[in-house]
Amino acid sequence: MTNTAVIRIEGLSKSYQTSAGLFPALNDVNLTIMPGEFVAVMGPSGSGKSTFMNILGCLDAPTVGSYALDGRPVASLDRDELALLRNRTIGFVFQGFNLLQRMSLRDNVALPLIYSGIELAERQKRADEMLAKVGLSDKADSLPNQISGGQQQRVAIARALINKPRLLLADEPTGNLDSRTGEEIMALFDALNSEGITIVLVTHEADIARHAQRQVHFHDGRIISDELTREIAA
């Protein structure tokens, strides 16, 4: 493993222009995440954790401060280069799964590969491998609305992982699932983390956050606590 931080954030602030004036969503945030960490970002709604995730995922840009992903400052990148980062370096898992309803599960999983310029046959082969990894190889030709929520989230995780990203970002991945299914999904995250993938997960459930080694609490746009809760597995 390299010593370069996957995420290095310094003095980051983000404010939005609203009708009531400038609204500060994030205020002077500093955070460094090393390769292989499993971090839970916690906090009440409106604490800025979603905005923080969007910036981490290169979907949004900070107003002030610097963000280096894998040692590269993100601010200097143009839209196409950001798209490339989202495609290759980052995998996204959303609370609402965000699968494309008209496509088979295989095509959903293979979608990022289209934007990597990979041939159809190769795309399908890799999508089938990923589906097997999340235990859904028998459903490859089903549509998203034919399977359960937990299964949909597995498909979304397979999609996020297909380009072998260094960083997996998950925004309330268990928020729409019952607790038992949520635990299954978390078990999957644990397994992925033990393979070496860096995971940042937003949640407000303490049970879910327990799976992480490190918990970062947000309040009113600031980090109020940052503690190691569990030793990194050897």
């Binding site: 798209a83 989202r86 496509m103």
Partner: protein
């Protein structure tokens, strides 16, 4: 990418078909209108070239008897020698004096009333009317007023049936005439008359033996053909000058003849047909434009509807140009497929029009190509704006869209 576009279109089949229909109707209308317009232009052109090209018609002036004026072509102020003199002018190809009339014509048990034209061999040149079997009469036939005739196809059919008329003798108002030749098929004239229902005989014979005239050697009408269309204005001036001189008309006095430019009449007919077909094309183009706007409309709806999908695609690494291409491709497929169906319908419609009404239609490769490329361009043009709108979406906004 193509598969993606196909899937998106399949998901909203009815909408896709309706959008396409706009394009189908536009292209179909353009192709149909253009082929009808071009057909009309071609028909007019045929009629004009059958009439003969670069033609003047010279009419004698009016006479006045007891206060009753006869109008143009009323008197016999022109002579055959006027025509000969005009033929000598530079730029004049042929000048044929004409004595027209109609007469009952008899061959064996058959008789037929037809138009009998007394003229000279120059008439055939001016009208571009060749003899298809036998031979034409000559200047010496005109000089000696021989009883020879050239007959049109309709007359030949009515008098001789399947017999070969060449060398046979027919009677025009009791006078026997030898048929020297049969004229080529000419078809309908500008005035709608059957030009093949006629007989041409030497003008001298017509005046002496058939119609009779008070003024032998004088005619009411001379047909003049120039070498090219460019020399027509010049020829008009020199003919007028020559005739005024020959008729001893003083400065300031009215001419005792009038000169008409037939080609100008024909040209204006051709021009009005051209304008008509342009107009048809323009109206059809409007529907093409409406079809294009339909595409834009639907694509905009589609972009709005799929905002969230666009957000997801961006979150997993789609670049601006990937999204742009995806939506543009849909617009292009709709317009190209619509175009193709429209093309087939337009061609089918044109053929149907031809079958049902007998209207001449011409489906030219160029008009098909123009319609196709215009429609494809319209599709790309109107598809570009919504596609760009999709590509420029902010990923976060798009992801949050419900």
């Amino acid at each position: 990418m193509l598969g993606e576009a196909w899937r998106a279109m399949g998901a909203n089949r009815m909408r896709t078909i309706l959008t396409m229909l706009g394009m189908v109707i536009g292209v179909g209308a353009v192709v149909l209108m253009m082929s009808i317009g071009q057909g009309a232009q071609y028909a007019i052109k045929q009629t004009i070239s059958a009439m003969g090209s670069n033609l003047f018609i010279l009419l004698s002036g009016s006479t006045s008897a007891g206060g009753v004026r006869s109008g143009h072509g009323g008197g016999y102020t022109l002579t055959i020698s006027d025509a000969d003199a005009i033929a000598e002018l530079p730029g004049v190809q042929a000048a044929a004096p004409i004595h027209p009339g109609s007469a009952q014509v008899v061959y064996g048990p058959n008789n037929w009333n037809t138009s009998v034209i007394g003229s000279t061999p120059a008439y055939l040149d001016a009208r571009a009317w060749p003899v298809v079997s036998g031979s034409a009469f000559t200047a010496s036939d005109v000089r000696s007023a021989t009883r020879v005739a050239l007959i049109g196809q309709t007359t030949a059919q009515n008098l001789f049936g399947d017999e070969d008329p060449v060398g046979k003798t027919l009677r025009i108002r009791q006078s026997p005439f030898t048929v020297l030749g049969v004229l080529a098929l000419k078809g309908q004239g500008m005035d709608g008359r059957d030009q093949d229902d006629s007989i041409i005989i030497p003008i001298t014979t017509a005046q002496r033996n058939v119609f009779g005239t008070q003024f032998p050697g004088s005619v009411r009408m001379v047909m003049v053909q120039t070498t090219t269309q460019e020399v027509m204005p010049e020829a008009e001036l020199s003919m007028t000058a020559l005739l005024r001189q020959r008729h001893r008309i003083r400065e300031g006095q009215d001419s005792d003849f009038s000169l008409r430019n037939l080609t100008a009449v024909a040209d204006s007919a051709a021009e009005s047909t051209r304008v008509m077909s342009l107009l048809l094309g323009a109206i059809a183009s409007v529907s093409l434009l409406v079809g294009g706007i339909g595409i834009m409309n639907i694509m905009l709806v589609s972009v709005t509807e799929r905002t969230r999908e666009i957000g997801i695609r961006m979150a997993i690494g789609a670049r601006e140009r990937d999204i742009l291409l995806q939506f543009l491709l849909e617009a292009i497929i709709i317009s190209v497929v619509g175009c193709f169906i429209g093309l087939l319908l337009g061609i089918g419609g044109a053929l149907l029009t031809h079958t049902l009404t007998g209207t001449m239609v011409i489906i030219s490769g160029s008009s098909v190509l123009v319609a196709f490329s215009v429609a494809a361009t319209v599709g790309i043009f109107f598809g570009y704006y919504p596609a760009r709108k999709a590509a420029r979406l902010d990923p976060i906004e798009a992801l949050r869209y419900q």
